[in-house]
């Protein structure tokens, strides 16, 4: 018996206990019976996929998520959170009363203040404030909700990235995409429910960020590779054409079915179905990756250039849209390169050159295709950057900013999000949150909420605890950014 079967039982119980309101219990029972397969002596056709869609706790406003994770932590002070006071104080240290014993990764607490490196302006009818390098995002200012008061518990990359993705700074917990796959399944039966795309430099959080942790590994994120097969082993081996593959799968199926007749173990049925889905993925993947179906105009708005590594983020944004169209539940687009310990000004310019246009294009393209209304887009890093300058002779650094967990900015768009609002504020130094603190777990609760999930109800029991993505403390969706 697989753990999936236990899970099905648990989930079934859960929905019987908690999801009765508004749906006749008998109707629900039969619905679940279809999904989970009650017939124990199952034939090959009715054993359900563990990632088949499942009911939500309440009506969802978004069906899928594209999470643009800006790994390395962009400087909010040079992009969204304009602090003229820092210019006035430039060169002077902050008083210890502000710093309050915060530990830093690299700088000493008495480091001098560094003013914003760019001019800011207000954009759109909403008057959202952004800095000069965000030229393209400024054109969709009225489509996004900006949160300037996000804070986190961790101040090093790997733990902080894990914290955003798994709710814990220590590797080993299930990631958000895995929780979603486990909780509400996927709408795609020929692609994984949780896909990971990556561009830029190395990712500190690594594979733990798409791990299924203690959830069944079915819910693991599937990274698309930039070299070789996009999905590992999705291509046939050398020498095998599609008919050879089909013939082989037919024989595998026939032999498995013969064995099923003798042994009667439903696990064999599950395996037969897994091979069929594998074949569907093999068929689907080449079509998915084929950008020749896109018009030049579409390629242009993203700045996408198939096969060009310099346009990797733009290509990934376009691929994200294609994955969204095909029903993938959680599309994680990582872009690493924002860790500007030195020359934050040049760093920001460089990263915006790669990412500003594709981000804005994704919003426009999804909107034009009618997909924005039920696709949630999230943009943000793992923490913010200090109002103080980083410089170090040993490391050869100057005019940079160190890690800052106390306050930083994220933006949201699409399904369930109230467009054109700016929520929360920091103090005059951009150091602490002054209004509407938003914890990482609140961000996670917000994302789950948009997908129709009560973050306190999505739990899994292991090691004696009922774990959830959002930890044990009180957290809640950020109502101010919800439509």
């Amino acid at each position: 018996m697989t753990d999936d079967s236990t899970l099905r039982d648990q989930t079934r119980r859960h929905f019987f206990q908690n999801c009765g309101v508004g749906i006749g219990r008998i109707a629900l029972a039969s619905l679940l019976a279809q999904q989970f397969g009650t017939a124990r002596r199952a034939s090959a056709d009715d054993a359900a996929s563990p990632i088949a869609p499942k009911p939500t706790h309440f009506p969802a406003t978004a069906k899928r998520v594209i999470y643009l994770f800006m790994a390395g932590a962009p400087s909010q002070l040079d992009l969204f959170d304009n602090k003229p006071m820092l210019t006035k104080l430039e060169g002077k240290p902050l008083p210890p009363s502000v710093i309050k014993g915060q530990r830093y990764a690299f700088i000493q607490p008495d480091a001098a203040v560094l003013g914003p490196r760019f001019k800011f302006a207000k954009h759109g009818e909403s008057g959202a404030e952004m800095s000069e390098p965000l030229k393209q995002l400024a054109t969709v200012a009225d489509e996004i909700a900006i949160a300037r008061s996000v804070h986190t518990d961790l101040f090093n990359h790997s733990p902080a990235q894990l914290f955003f993705n798994t709710g814990s700074g220590i590797p080993g917990r299930p990631s958000m995409g895995s929780w979603l796959s486990y909780g509400i399944g996927s709408e795609a039966d020929d692609l994984p429910s949780f896909v990971v795309l990556k561009s830029g430099g190395s990712l500190s959080g690594g594979a733990s960020m798409w791990s299924s942790g203690f959830l069944p590994s079915t819910h693991q994120g599937v990274p698309f590779r930039s070299e070789g097969d996009p999905i590992l082993h999705v291509s046939n081996p050398a020498g095998f054409d599609s008919q050879a593959q089909r013939d082989s799968l037919d024989l595998i199926r026939s032999l498995n079915e013969q064995r099923l007749d003798v042994i009667g173990d439903p696990e064999i049925t599950t395996r037969i179905n897994a091979y069929e889905m594998a074949y569907r993925m093999q068929t689907r993947a080449p079509e998915l990756m084929d950008f020749s179906q896109e018009t030049q105009a579409t390629l242009n708005i993203y700045g996408a250039k198939p096969g060009d590594g310099k346009a990797a983020f733009a290509n990934n944004c376009l691929l994200a849209r294609r994955l969204a169209e095909r029903g993938v539940r959680f599309i994680q687009v990582y872009h690493a390169g924002w860790d500007h310990h030195s020359n934050v000004e040049g760093g920001i310019r460089g990263q915006c050159a790669q990412t500003d246009r594709p981000c804005a294009a994704l919003i426009k393209d999804l909107k034009q295709r009618g997909l924005l209304k039920d696709t949630l887009i999230v943009w943000g890093g793992e923490f913010g950057r200090t109002p103080m300058v980083e410089s170090s002779a040993a490391l050869g650094r100057s005019m940079g900013r160190d890690h800052h967990p106390q306050a930083f900015t994220m933006w949201f768009a699409g399904g369930g999000i109230k467009p054109g609002v700016t929520v929360g504020a920091t103090d005059d130094l951009g150091f602490h949150v002054a209004e509407r603190p938003i914890h990482v777990h609140d961000v996670q609760a917000t994302i789950l909420h948009c997908l129709g999930i009560d973050h306190e109800q999505l739990t899994f029991r292991t090691s004696g605890l009922d774990f959830r993505l959002t930890g044990v403390e009180e957290h809640a969706p950020v109502q101010e950014i919800l439509a």
Partner: protein
């Protein structure tokens, strides 16, 4: 009484036992029926946790519940508990209407019946010592082979079920091979057993397998899941670590059947055993398998704390079967573990340093000795390579009186002697008379400093990103004046990479970074005018390592000797104004970097030299010898000469072979161990509010939770704790261990949650059997092999695993054991099955981990785009146990089959069944390589194939049996041969390219193109490798 929403709610929790139990006149059973209800519905607010207790009422202790009037025995209607749960008043009702966990009508009536029957409590079964009961009898006793069967069959009889017939011999031999050694039998091995008419054939087979070296490899993998073994450090950088000697220790311990109590003690506290052996110290690697965060800028003590958290949790899982980890942040909601008791357990484990242990591997030691001898000889011979003086013949031509021309050898010697004398003279001129200063007082922010016999200072204990070491010296009148100070950074084998620094993450091991040196005499600060160094280089970053960096007032600049780990170096600091008065000299050393990098061993000296004393590259004893009056001793002169030979520019070319030999010098293998800290430097442990690193509160003494207090002296340190864990005083260790063994053989434990035997866990399916096995295990000397033998020779284990629709409906998870176990093999076994079937499997045991082939993109995705250089030769085909395990990019073909990634202790793997597994087995080149080898072997063994002839059937059967053990049925054989014929037609017809299938890539090899038959069998093999049965314990 109100539930807080922040409490983790058991949304999916089921406490239902397999079949509804009926109870007799004594009412519901507390342990079986009542405690699970109380634990999940009531204890969160009325349980052991004081912080979250509502209304000052606790229901986990009977006396308290009685005192409060919550329970009045025999009078449910007067009992507040019963009144409240049946109340219709929302202000009174319990659990409160907004609580997520409500009571069912059945649960309410159970509680009522229980109070009516006296409301008795009993301790949780797992906290009572196992009781050995006589195995029961049943109508199936004639089929019982040992005590296990009598327990299992009695339960089956009570459930009106019957055991299944014994599995056929092919299934049996395959099952017991896979279970005991993790490899399938070859067809010959299987046939030998099938044909063996000895009534003890099966038992004999079991004994052979238990004696096989592969037994230790198979069971080591199970233990390594618990040990969270990995070959890398985890987190961002996830660099390699060397701890495979620990893995090898586990294999050997299992193969020699080391008793489980000893196995435990050596792993937890082998270093503390009297006269600990090398092996016992290697064994302590168990708790060094925690992750190490090497990201720049982290707080190293924070991640050490998380490693401790992991150690407590792992110890709890492995030896207590308890979710001790739940008490990290607050008192356990359900089990009797107080918040402070959690830190008491941590304190037991928290007093060790964590060094690397070099292992004097005899082969490596010998290689080193040989190389050193060669180097010594070559250095001796260097004089002979010294250039001779120009020939005197030229001069001879100018004067008839000149002596006979000197031979080349003579001129060579002459030149050497002259050059050496010049150099020696220079050295003598520069030599400074240094006096080692013995500190009178040592202070630091955290590390423990001690003075060694040579006046050097040695640092142990914990270090931070900003270490300040303050040294005090008494300067006596006879030392005056002091014109300069010297700081030597000294190597020491006890330090990482031999020192001199203590850096152990992010930077180079053994590195240091001296930011600032400040000195004062009394209260008067001393100024440095200049400085010099023997060598300086920093790692990470573009900065320089000038001596002046240590007195420039900038903490971000400094001195370091990166790349010269294991060597001594020095800086000399010249005072602006000499010290001319006696007094107390205070020297403060600041080490400030984005990683912890203070010095591990160093020494301070002073001089009165009135020149400009400077640092030297000469060893300090030679420099000292040069400052003394009179002739040099012969030995000293010899050493100086050797020193000169090593640096003389004239010999640069001649020394190249020596440098090459030095580069070939193999390092000793090393492994990570625990080393108990001395009594004068115990590491204090504190309670951490909400489990947060930064919120430490009162100090906590080592100790075990009160629930285990049986009046015997409690353990106070790691060794005593290890001994306690496997003593009679711990009711859990044996139960938890036998349950895990049961799980490995049957797919599920008798307690399904093999990591949780607490009050929230479902009770054992066969409690008496569990206790019987636990007591048998202990009585039998904690022998794991005998335990395994007992299980696999039972009739229960030997049943066939066919599932009838009735049985599937009645007992889908086979908890009642009316049939044999059938489950998909663990990830490593999946590959090992294919390796053995293909004939490629290497029998090589032990040593550093190896790299079977996988796509470059797997590790290409990891931080730093790590390269995966696939092993060649037999290392490519070693058992999967030996595959290099990288935490952030674990071997893809294992992860997809649910292998753990070593991030935390895993007592029970998931067993999923997914499309990605299908893609891996179908298309991963690693498996194709095995398919090609298997097919080639089978074709060779079965003679030249002619389609449709008996040979095709023979080949097909051969391939089938290597992978599945049993012979194919006629229908299976027909289907396979039909497929093979069809593919052969396509191959012969040019629709498929045999060469590509056989080479694994496009190739112009026309010989391969002729092997269509062979290619068709590769295709057959690939199909058979993908059958459910191939990767399943039958």
């Amino acid at each position: 009484m109100k539930t807080t929403t922040s409490v983790l709610i058991a949304a999916f929790l089921s406490t239902a036992s397999l079949t509804p139990q009926t109870f007799g006149s004594e009412g519901p059973s507390f342990a079986r029926d009542i405690r699970p209800i109380l634990a999940s519905r009531c204890f969160p607010c009325h349980g052991p946790d004081e912080q979250h207790r509502e209304g000052d009422l606790r229901l986990d202790e009977r006396a308290a519940a009685l005192d409060a009037g919550a329970i009045i025995p025999g009078k449910p209607d007067d009992s507040e508990l019963i009144r409240r749960i049946f109340s219709t008043n929302p202000d009174e009702r319990m659990p409160p209407p907004d609580a997520k966990e409500q009571l069912s009508e059945r649960q309410k009536s159970l509680l009522r019946d229980w109070v009516l029957n006296g409301g008795d409590y009993e301790p949780h079964w797992a906290f009572i010592k196992p009781v050995r009961r006589e195995p029961p009898t049943s109508k199936f006793d004639n089929r019982a082979r040992n005590a296990i069967d009598r327990f299992v069959f009695a339960r089956l009889a009570a459930e009106h079920l019957a055991p299944s017939p014994e599995a056929d011999r092919y299934a049996l031999v395959r099952r017991v091979y896979l279970d005991l050694i993790g490899l399938p039998p070859t067809p010959e091995e299987a046939d030998a057993f099938v044909a063996d008419s000895d009534p003890r054939a099966y038992e004999n087979l079991v004994d052979r397998l238990l004696d096989s070296p592969q037994y230790g490899e198979r069971w080591a993998r199970v233990w390594l899941d618990l040990a969270r073994y990995s070959d890398t450090n985890g987190y961002e950088k996830d660099r390699p670590r060397s701890i495979w000697p620990y893995r090898d220790w586990v294999i050997r311990a299992l193969n020699t059947d080391m008793p489980y109590d000893q196995f435990t003690i050596e792993q937890l506290a082998g270093d503390m055993l009297p006269d600990a052996t090398l092996d016992q110290r290697i064994a302590t690697g168990f708790h060094r398998n925690t992750m190490l965060n090497e990201e720049g800028g982290i707080d190293p003590l924070e991640y050490r704390f998380y490693a401790m958290v992991d150690r407590v949790a792992t110890t709890g899982t492995v030896w207590l079967g308890l979710t001790v980890n739940c008490a990290q942040c607050h008192t356990h909601k359900y089990d009797p573990i107080q918040h402070s008791e959690y830190y008491g357990l941590m304190a037991l484990l928290n007093n060790a340093d964590e060094p690397d242990l070099p292992i004097p591997d005899p082969t490596v030691v010998q290689q080193r000795e040989q190389l050193l001898a060669q180097i010594d000889k070559l250095e001796n011979d260097l004089v002979a390579a010294f250039p001779p003086l120009p020939s005197s013949e030229d001069k001879a031509a100018t004067g008839p009186d000149s002596k006979p021309a000197a031979t080349e050898a003579e001129r060579r010697e002459q030149n050497f002697n002259q050059s050496f004398a010049r150099w020696l003279d220079q050295q003598r001129q520069a030599a400074v008379d240094w006096k080692v200063q013995w500190p009178t007082n040592l202070e630091s922010n955290l590390p423990r400093l001690e003075v060694l016999d040579d006046g050097s200072i040695f640092s142990t204990g914990d270090i931070t990103k900003r270490d300040v070491l303050t040294l005090t010296f008494d300067i006596a009148v006879d030392q005056l004046p002091i014109t300069a100070l010297r700081l030597e950074a000294l190597p020491d084998d006890r330090l990482p990479a031999g020192g001199p620094g203590r850096a152990y993450y992010e930077g180079r091991k053994g590195d240091f970074f001296l930011s600032e040196v400040t000195a004062k005499l009394g209260d008067t600060p001393l100024q440095f005018a200049s400085g010099s160094q023997s060598f300086g280089k920093i790692s990470i970053g573009s900065g320089d390592a000038r001596t002046a960096n240590v007195f420039d007032g900038d903490g971000s600049t400094g001195w370091s000797t990166s790349g010269h780990e294991g060597e001594a170096n020095q800086i000399v600091l010249n005072l602006k104004a000499p010290i001319t008065a006696a007094g107390s000299l205070t020297i403060e050393l600041l080490f400030e970097r984005h990683f912890a990098a203070s010095l591990g061993r160093f020494r301070i000296s002073a001089t009165s030299d009135d020149g400009t004393p400077a640092a030297t590259t000469l060893p300090v004893d030679l420099e000292a010898a040069l400052t003394s009056e009179g002739d040099l001793e012969a030995a000293t002169r010899e050493q100086l000469q050797r020193q000169y030979l090593r640096i003389a520019p004239e010999l640069a070319a001649a020394r190249r072979p020596i440098d090459a030999l030095r580069n070939r010098m193999p390092d000793l293998p090393h492994t990570q161990i625990m080393h108990e800290r001395p009594a004068d430097n115990l590491r204090p442990t504190f309670r951490h509010h909400r489990g947060e690193y930064l919120s430490s509160r009162e100090r906590v003494e080592p100790g075990i939770p009160a629930v285990f207090d049986d009046g015997s002296p409690p353990p106070t340190n790691r060794l005593e704790f290890a001994r306690w864990l496997v003593s009679d005083h711990n009711p859990l260790a044996a139960r938890v261990a036998v349950n895990r063994a049961w799980q490995a053989f049957f797919g599920n434990g008798l307690v399904a949650t093999s990591d949780d035997f607490g009050t929230q866990a479902n009770p054992p399916t066969h409690p008496e059997l569990l206790d019987w096995l636990a007591t048998e295990f202990v009585t039998d000397g904690w022998s794991q092999k005998r335990l395994h033998r007992l299980i696999v020779t039972s009739a229960t284990y030997r049943q066939q695993s066919n599932v009838t629709p009735d049985l599937l409906e009645r007992d889908p998870n086979n908890e009642l054991l009316a049939r044999g176990p059938r489950f998909r093999a663990p990830a490593e076994t999946v590959r090992d099955i294919m390796l053995k079937a293909s004939g490629l499997l290497s029998p090589k045991m032990f040593g550093p981990s190896v790299y079977p082939p996988q796509p470059a993109s797997v590790t290409g995705l990891a931080y730093g785009s790590t390269k995966w250089n696939a092993s060649t030769g037999e290392d490519r085909y070693r058992r999967s146990l030996y595959t290099f395990s990288k935490r952030t990019a674990s071997f893809a073909a294992y992860t997809v089959f649910d292998a753990p990634t070593g991030e935390s202790c895993v007592a029970r793997r998931n067993r999923s069944n997914t499309p990605l597994q299908a893609l891996t087995l179908l298309n991963d080149e690693m498996f194709l390589e095995m398919a090609r080898a298997l097919a080639a072997d089978a074709v060779t063994q079965s003679g030249e194939p002619n389609v449709g002839s008996p040979d095709a059937a023979a080949i097909a059967t051969n391939i089938f049996r290597r992978l599945l053990t049993r012979p194919p049925t006629d229908a299976e054989l027909t289907a396979i041969i039909d497929y093979q014929k069809a593919q052969l037609d396509r191959l012969n017809g040019g629709q498929l390219k045999a060469s590509e299938i056989l080479a694994g890539k496009a190739t112009k090899n026309s010989a391969l193109e002729q092997r269509a038959d062979q290619a068709s069998w590769v295709m057959v093999t690939r199909v058979l490798m993908n059958l459910d049965e191939t990767i399943t314990h039958p």
